[in-house]
Amino acid sequence: MDFDGRRILVNEVGEHLVLDNEVFDELVEHRLSPHNPEFQSLKAKHFIADSTTTTATRLLATKYRTKKSFLGGFTGLHIFVVTLRCDHSCHYCQVSRVSQNRLKYDMSRESAERALELVFRSPAESIKIEFQGGEPLLNFDSIRFVVGEARKQADAEGREVTFVIATNLVFLTEEILDFLRDNDVLVSTSLDGPAHVHNSNRPRPGNDSYELAIRGIERVRQALGFERVSAIMTTSRSSLEYPEAIVDEYVAQGFDHIFVRHISPYGFAVRTRKRTGYELPAFLDFYKRALAHILEINRTGRFLVEAYAQTLLTKILTPFPAGYVDLQSPAGAGIGVAVYNYDGDVYVSDEARMLAEMGDTSFRLGNVHTHTYEELFGGPQLRSLVEASVIESLPGCADCAFQPYCGCDPLENYVTQGTVVGHRPTSEFHFRNLEIIKHLLRLYHGDDPFIKQLFWSWVQNRPVSELIPSPPR
């Protein structure tokens, strides 16, 4: 691929090299001299081989198998939507929420029991159960039941099970905190930035979502431990002016990870797109400004990771899978993650659930009460979706140099372009990832050695000072 006037080469397992055009021409025309300094780099990165041994192919096969190792565990993340009830009215919400008093939108015990049976049919040795809503704490009884039963089942089978609850923290009580602590439940909450950004995005009666979130984060940290709560942000149109302020808010609140996330085209976000939506160039500008600020913060010695960059860099710099369902091939919808809705319906992803709430049930696999595990996870619907998300065979993706780093989102293709396969030349998913990957590679191969160290520290999830004997100059 053209890379700012040079050429970037990427092999089957994601190893990459940047070459001058002249060297690239000599390489493809089989004229490259073994005395050329790049010859050794090309050998080291397995682009060329001058040995008759099979060492290179076996090494590459091992790396390829490592990259695809996520397939062995099949569905590891199971999302329980325990209620649609919520007290917030977030503009970008993917959820078709209902008001707090509509109990018929809570998951029943029978649905939870049947969903758990399906969870433990998955071959994954390590299972993660995530509670979502609405606001899941509004149906805490269901959470308590699922955690208790899942732990019993996991212990009986010798498997690992972890729990996460995605909550706005408004309905925390001491009883709930005690339960979360005693059962090692991780907490994930939303923090869109400083108060004026957060409250603008997430209205609720009293317009105090930010204040409640901060208070909730503090309560969770005191009861469960500092590291037991994480935050995620959503970038809305009103966020675009404040990338640095949003990053600063995460630093001020003591977080060491921030996921600079674009808005998704689902659910209420569709209806409010005129108010909350933005064009891709605006988001990319926002992302780059936020990333630049994050890099400078790290330069002062404060460890802060941009999570999407961390995911991409893991794929760029190592053979290991990154565990992000939209950046894998085949895509993780249905095979990496499954969603069990309050009414027992099973979906390939949260976005699929949102489409159903908008009247399109194309990605509903079935219902826990009427379908077997084999029908839900081995049926023709999921198989055809998986087939459509193998980027090694998708138009545009099949020939892309960044294929080992990328993935696909068949539901975003379907919603924005009309087919699960999508059309790469007009795909926002394609251009968004293409530009972010190029930006990261430009930074990595630039003149600043600190950036290279920092990116490796993100991949290893430890500060730069722990990577090298002395701090960078």
Partner: protein
């Protein structure tokens, strides 16, 4: 990449008018696969229609919405992309067997003994 303001020299232009731009490509230089893949890249920016005027040549018809000046610039990028796609095709032909060997070896040596075994009622792998 230099942006050409006109169609680059050496390009066989059949028509350059208000109705669009038509370029003639030699199939001896670019296979149908290469031409189709190149056209695919540009289907987001203009309308493309392919035609074959004889056994040796393919005609690419460009119609854009922003006037012909953009099409002339686009033709320059199209020319570069043709070369890129041709190089990719050549490399794919030269290395295809090795890449298949790598993938085959990767899965042939996979050890799933640590993965929980599927139940007997699971559906067969192929349908």
């Amino acid at each position: 990449m230099k942006r050409h303001k006109t169609v680059p020299p050496g390009f066989d232009v059949l028509e350059d008018s208000d109705r669009g731009l038509r370029l003639k490509l030699a199939r001896s230089l670019y296979s149908d696969e290469v031409i189709f893949k190149t056209c695919y890249v540009f289907t987001g920016r203009c309308t493309i229609l392919l035609d074959r005027i004889d056994a040796e040549h393919v005609v690419v018809n460009f119609n854009g919405s922003d006037g012909n000046s953009d099409l002339r610039c686009l033709a320059g990028e199209f020319a570069n992309e043709l070369i890129d796609q041709r190089v990719r095709a050549d490399i794919a032909r030269e290395t295809g067997s090795i890449r298949e060997l790598i993938v085959s070896q990767a899965f042939a040596e996979a050890d799933f003994s640590h993965v929980r075994q599927a139940s007997e009622s699971d559906p067969p792998a192929s349908s």
